[in-house]
């Protein structure tokens, strides 16, 4: 059973005009006899920030895997900017404007910070597989990489190995990588996981700035409720693979069904 409600008046979704940038309809994934994600449907408006919450095992990361194509859907459709990408490869979805980070820190530890971001810029600009084309310090991909690193405050560490960064800086680097691909829709899977308390505020500020100032559409899985409630236009609650609720933070936190399923006394 999927519950879907309209965005509430207190936090209206920024309107980008036209249709939703992401439309999920009846999305389902069953592996063997187990249903991982069940009949999930929702629309995301351009520039909207949706927080995805739910207890462990609720299907949040599986939903992201289905959206990004890392897991095949067994039912339903995913439409990205008007294109049906339900059966498209992860690479195709990325080229169509869907970027994501992973639950565990996923930078290329053996590459420099700049190379990590440059790779993403190359992916967007094309020509990554031209073996005759040299990496030049002044080409467009490098300029994009430099801008992205400046955006997240890592420009001074560009020559360092990514593996030598602190966990919080690795999360910032993941954001820089995402920015370099210039995605229309950003999926952030627990970006605060493992980040120290001191780094949470800085990372939250960077994510908020990316959303507000660059107009990115963001879906973010996170357990830090205080972070989410300050950023999200709407909150989606996953429970047992289904979408239990999708509404403004105020309404979701007041929903008895949600409180019973997940939030409990925390709110």
């Amino acid at each position: 059973m999927t519950t879907q409600t309209e965005p509430g008046p207190p936090r209206p979704a920024p309107s980008g005009g036209g249709g939703p940038v992401l439309r999920v309809a009846g999305l389902t994934c069953a592996i063997g006899g187990a249903v991982i994600v069940s009949d999930v449907s929702f629309d995301v408006a351009p520039g909207e920030f949706i927080a995805v919450i739910g207890p462990n095992g609720a299907g949040k990361t599986s939903l992201f895997n289905l959206l990004s194509g890392l897991m095949p859907a067994t039912g339903g459709t995913v439409t990205l900017a008007g294109h049906d990408v339900t059966t498209a490869s992860p690479a195709t979805r990325a080229r169509r404007g869907l970027g994501r980070t992973f639950q565990s820190s996923s930078v290329f530890a053996g590459l420099s910070v700049a190379e990590n971001v440059r790779l993403a810029a190359q992916a967007r600009l094309g020509g990554s597989l031209r073996f005759w084309q040299r990496v030049r310090p002044d080409d467009e991909a490098q300029q994009v990489a430099t801008r992205s690193l400046e955006r997240v405050g890592l420009a001074a560490r560009s020559r360092d190995l990514a593996g030598s960064l602190s966990h919080g800086d690795k999360r910032k680097l993941e954001l820089a990588i995402l920015l370099a691909t210039d995605p229309a829709v950003v999926l952030l899977d627990e970006p605060m996981a493992g980040v120290s308390i001191e780094d949470v505020a800085g990372l939250t500020e960077v994510i908020g700035a990316v959303h507000r100032e660059e107009g990115k559409t963001v879906l973010m899985v996170e357990h830090h409720m205080d972070v989410l409630l300050g950023l999200a236009d709407r909150v989606a609650v996953m429970h047992h693979g289904s979408l239990l609720a999708l509404d403004t933070p105020a309404r979701v936190t007041a929903d008895p069904a949600v409180q019973e399923a997940y939030l409990g006394d925390a709110l």
């Binding site: 992860p90 690479a91 790779l119 190359q122 597989l129 084309q133």
Partner: protein, 294 residues
């Protein structure tokens, strides 16, 4: 002194041969996670392709540039076969490692049987350029020139691969792909094209090793690729599975240990010494000599 020089240069020549085979294996395993047991087949194809071209291809032969043309033909055939194998047999089996092993082992056996059926099981004399049959005096030792040919070629290949990996766009993709293929794909890069390219390049190096191995050994036989592949796998494991520089260092170690042990202990002890070296490295550095790709 002359014995030491001769043993060292011969060991380095053997190391060069191992490196040419192992570098492709290392790149393929690192990027694709494929243990390619059919890699020896590419070596055999390259060796027989060169041998056939020297005898039948217009303009090709066993001297000077005509021999170079024969080698180019052998390498081209080896490269084409490797690319076809990747597209037809490996690509449908990505992430299915057991099936990949079965297919590549089967292909290796089938290729040897095919070559044996066409050209027979006996070793064939390999066309050797006159220059390679002569010797050069080095610190009192008369060193066969084919050793220098092997060493020079391996150094050129090593430098070319390092430049490719460190200074080109696709090199960045390959180094990133070795670390995390899923992430590279998530960025929107079609990593399958990089897989095919790396497989073809690995096949080219193996085919080149087949051609130069024929010059070094003086003959070719259907099972040559398989026997060299065993040592190439040892080199890859010692080097660190997906490290080109580690593979180069490991190849030198294996080549020298094998030569010195065969000479100073007894013929055959060299092979045993290589296995012991493998055991020592795995016990002291389980991940091999180097974890860095390039």
């Amino acid at each position: 002194m002359s014995t030491i020089v001769l043993l060292t240069v011969t060991g380095l020549g053997l190391a060069a041969l191992y490196f040419l085979v192992a570098s492709g294996l290392s790149l393929i395993f690192g990027l694709m996670g494929v243990l390619n047991f059919a890699h020896g087949a590419f070596l055999t194809v390259g060796a027989y392709g060169t041998w056939w071209a020297a005898g039948h291809l217009p303009g090709a032969g066993s001297t000077g540039w005509s021999f170079v043309l024969a080698v180019v033909f052998g390498v081209a055939v080896g490269t084409a076969v490797a690319a076809l194998v990747e597209l037809a047999l490996i690509r449908p089996l990505y992430e299915r490692h057991i099936e990949q092993v079965l297919v590549t082992v089967g292909l290796s056996l089938a290729m040897v049987a095919l070559v044996r059926a066409i050209w027979g099981a006996d070793a064939r004399p390999f066309p050797r350029p006159e220059w390679a049959q002569r010797t050069t005096s080095l610190l009192g030792a008369n060193v066969p020139n084919d050793r220098f040919l092997l060493i020079g070629t391996a150094v050129v290949v090593l430098v070319a691969v390092l430049v490719l990996l460190r200074s080109t766009r696709i090199g960045l993709v390959i180094r990133a792909g070795v670390e995390n293929r899923t992430m590279v794909t998530a960025l929107g890069i079609d990593v399958r094209k990089a897989f095919t390219l790396v497989f073809a390049v690995g096949g080219a190096f193996a085919a080149l090793a087949g051609s130069l191995g024929g010059v070094y050994l003086g003959s070719i036989s259907p099972g040559q690729g398989t026997s060299l592949l065993i040592f190439a796998f040892i080199v890859v494991v010692i080097g660190g599975m997906s490290s080109i520089t580690g593979t180069a260092v490991a190849a030198v170690l294996v080549g020298l240990v094998q030569q010195y042990a065969n000479y100073y202990a007894a013929s055959g002890v060299g092979d045993l010494s290589v296995v012991l070296l493998l055991a020592v490295v795995l016990l002291t550095r389980p991940s091999g000599l180097s974890a860095k790709v390039a």
